[in-house]
């Protein structure tokens, strides 16, 4: 039995590898998405308009302002006299950041070897806000290092970053977990259901059914390559995000792979369910895209914050498996939390998977309809 299952799985791999277009989609999509989200949507910051509020007006503050002005990233619009003008400037939407130097900036630095700069950013666009405060921070650190080398005193300038409007930076670099859930969903639901329905459409299912091979094993064997390919895809996404985007994996990699495998199985069961109820590749594709992918994009929380949605829509989001997976990945990957922090979400996913599998087995068709 194991022998013919392995032949079957081998056959499925041949199908995948001989279909160039699918293969391209399979591996091209995650790469393109990561690159697109990673660069096109976050790092495109040049000449960001900022304002400076300088209460110090001393050597140090002037030098840092000069550096900000000189950098390509920033374009100083105005020097404000009063703190209160900052908020109006933000509300007018003309600036991305305000830099505030407190009075006695230079003397604090010289006498206490310690001073503070405040960076206030508009975090309603969290990606830009993070990037901008990062650049500004770097410029301040540059100045600090120059000073230290010049005078051999351990000066320390702290930047205090304030994210206005969206202090938790929701949906920030979190696109990697988002892309992960979408890609896994796409590959597992769409490709599995299409692959199975293709056998129905070309008539090969008819021949397969008239054989001792158990119909349920046919389906399981068909899903296997996509489990394997999804794990490879996951690895590619993680490598890209670590190596290219510099986003570290803070939690346990093993845990990440374990919950991802669970999510992949959830998605595969969804794919099976769709293939069980459709007769053509087109309808399988349509249901996968419209019925699964679009709700997942909407209700996972990485494009549109769920907190801002009306309550009924928040309820809808609970039945989207990708939402739970997204929370898990964020917790493990970004926050570096362990299993104790994600067991509830994992349990929800597990229950969904079990439910889907039971429905699949109960409604599985052993004949043509």
């Amino acid at each position: 039995m194991m022998d013919n299952i392995s032949t079957f799985i081998k056959k499925e791999f041949l199908h995948v590898f001989r279909d160039r277009k699918t293969l391209l989609m399979l591996f091209g999509l995650p790469i393109v998405q990561i690159i697109l989200f990673g660069f096109a949507l976050t790092n495109e910051i040049t000449n960001a308009k900022i304002v400076v509020c300088d209460y110090a007006k001393d050597d140090a503050s002037q030098q840092i302002i000069g550096k900000l002005q000189a950098s390509q990233q920033f374009d100083i619009q105005r020097i404000l006299l009063n703190h209160k003008q900052i908020e109006t400037a933000f509300k007018d939407g003309e600036i991305k950041m305000a830099v505030v130097f407190p009075a006695n900036f230079n003397s604090d630095l010289l006498h206490q070897h310690k001073a503070q700069v405040q960076l206030i950013t508009d975090a309603s666009d969290p990606n830009t806000a993070t990037a901008i405060s990062g650049y500004a921070n770097q410029i301040v650190m540059d100045y600090q290092n120059e000073l230290m080398q010049l005078q051999r005193v351990p000066y320390q300038i702290n930047t205090e970053v304030r994210m206005l409007y969206n202090p938790e930076l929701k949906a920030a670099v979190n696109f990697v977990p988002g892309v992960m859930s979408l890609i896994l969903l796409l590959v597992c639901v769409l490709m599995t259901s299409v692959a199975i329905v293709k056998e129905k459409e070309t008539g090969t299912m008819e021949v397969l059914l008239v054989s001792p091979f158990s119909p349920f094993l046919i389906i399981v064997s068909k899903a296997m390559p996509y489990l394997a390919l999804s794990l490879i895809n996951l690895t590619i996404i993680l490598l890209l995000s670590v190596l290219v985007l510099g986003m570290p994996i803070n939690g346990s990699i093993l845990l990440l792979y374990a919950v991802s495998t669970l999510f992949i199985i959830t998605a595969l069961s969804l794919g099976l369910l769709i293939s069980n109820r459709t007769a053509s590749q087109q309808s399988a594709m349509l249901i996968s895209l419209m019925g699964m992918l679009v709700p997942s994009i909407l209700f996972t929380g990485f494009m549109f914050p769920l907190e801002n949605m009306p309550y009924p829509l928040q309820l809808v989001s609970h039945i989207i498996p990708a939402k739970w997976y997204y929370i898990i990945v964020k917790s493990v990957m970004v926050k570096g939390l362990g299993f104790s922090a994600i067991w509830k979400e994992t349990l929800v996913l597990l229950t969904m998977t079990m439910l889907l599998l039971v429905v699949n087995i109960k409604t599985f068709k052993i004949r043509l309809t």
Partner: protein, 305 residues
């Protein structure tokens, strides 16, 4: 010993609106080459799918190898070979990969049953690394037959195996079936080509889901009670209509270069009378001769009755 038995099998689609198979009963003896002959939409494929356990009948019972097609579907699936009407192999796999795959899912190997497919496979061997989708129609059919045979089935179900295949390949295919029959395999084959009916031992003529006649091809032809004539003239187009208008013709059908006719009254005078009538209608080079009916004549007659 009867390998296949159908008892009042009925099948409807669209919640009973379309009656595809209507109380069909027949049997196939062990080792017999049995043909199901009828045009497209007659219900042949539905019957095949019921027998191969792919569809549930709405009424009646059927058994294959003595096993019930509904209850014992698992046993039947292990023992029969099935070749669907449409080419149903993996187009993106090579000849050899397809064959190995089907051997494997039947828990056997190509080597084990090679003797059974050897004659057929030898012709495919030069193309064994070619993708199945790139084969010619005849080659595809041979490969499909190999795949259906690779587990040494007791009964072979071939649904329109020669549809869309050239004349030479069709002839070869029937030769192969004869050889398989000699190996003791029961074969149930369907075809819309009436000329292939005589290659079967017994046939069932089927139309609109009903069996019209079951017998050996010879007996079915023998039952054709009237004298049949072939008529030809220079103007075949108007000849058909003119024949119908003579009033002495019972049936008249176009058959290639001739029209086949039967008379209402079977006596010699009618021939001369017909020629006279046709000459009056300006037909030239009229040819009229008695012929032996073919299965197609029988089929049309049964349909008209």
């Amino acid at each position: 010993m009867k390998d296949v038995i159908l008892n009042n099998i009925s099948k409807t689609y669209n919640k009973g609106i379309v009656q595809a198979v209507n109380a069909v009963s027949f049997h196939v003896d062990k080792g017999e080459l049995f043909g199901l002959i009828g045009p497209d939409g007659a219900g042949k494929t539905s019957i095949f799918r019921i027998l191969t356990t792919l569809l549930l009948p709405n009424g009646g019972t059927a058994s294959v190898n003595g096993f019930d097609v509904v209850k014992d579907y698992k046993t039947i699936r292990k023992n029969v070979g099935y070749m669907p009407g449409r080419f149903s192999l993996y187009q993106d796999l090579s000849v050899q990969e397809n064959l190995n795959f089907f051997a494997s899912i039947f828990n056997t190997s190509v080597k084990e049953n090679y003797d059974l497919i050897k004659d057929i496979y030898i012709q495919l061997e030069p193309f064994k690394d070619r993708r199945a989708g790139k084969l010619s129609g005849g080659m595809k059919q041979k490969l499909a037959l190999c795949c259906a045979l690779i587990h040494r089935p007791t009964i072979l179900f071939l649904d329109e195996p020669t549809t869309g295949v050239d004349v030479v390949s069709r002839k070869e295919f029937w030769e192969m079936l004869k050889r398989l029959k000699q190996q003791g395999i029961t074969i149930l084959v369907s075809t819309p080509y009436m000329d292939e009916a005589t290659l079967c031992e017994r046939i069932a003529l089927i139309q609109d889901g009903r069996i019209m006649s079951i017998d050996t091809p010879e007996n079915i032809i023998g039952k054709f009670s009237e004298s049949l004539f072939a008529v030809k003239s220079d103007n075949m187009g108007s000849l058909l209509q003119d024949l119908k208008n003579t009033g002495i013709i019972k049936s008249c059908n176009a058959f290639g270069a001739y029209h086949h006719v039967t008379f209402k009254d079977n006596n010699q005078n009618m021939n001369e009378k017909l020629i006279r009538v046709l000459e009056e209608k300006q037909h030239t080079n009229i040819e009229l001769r008695p012929i032996t009916p073919t299965i197609e004549d029988c089929f049309i007659k049964l349909m008209e009755d």
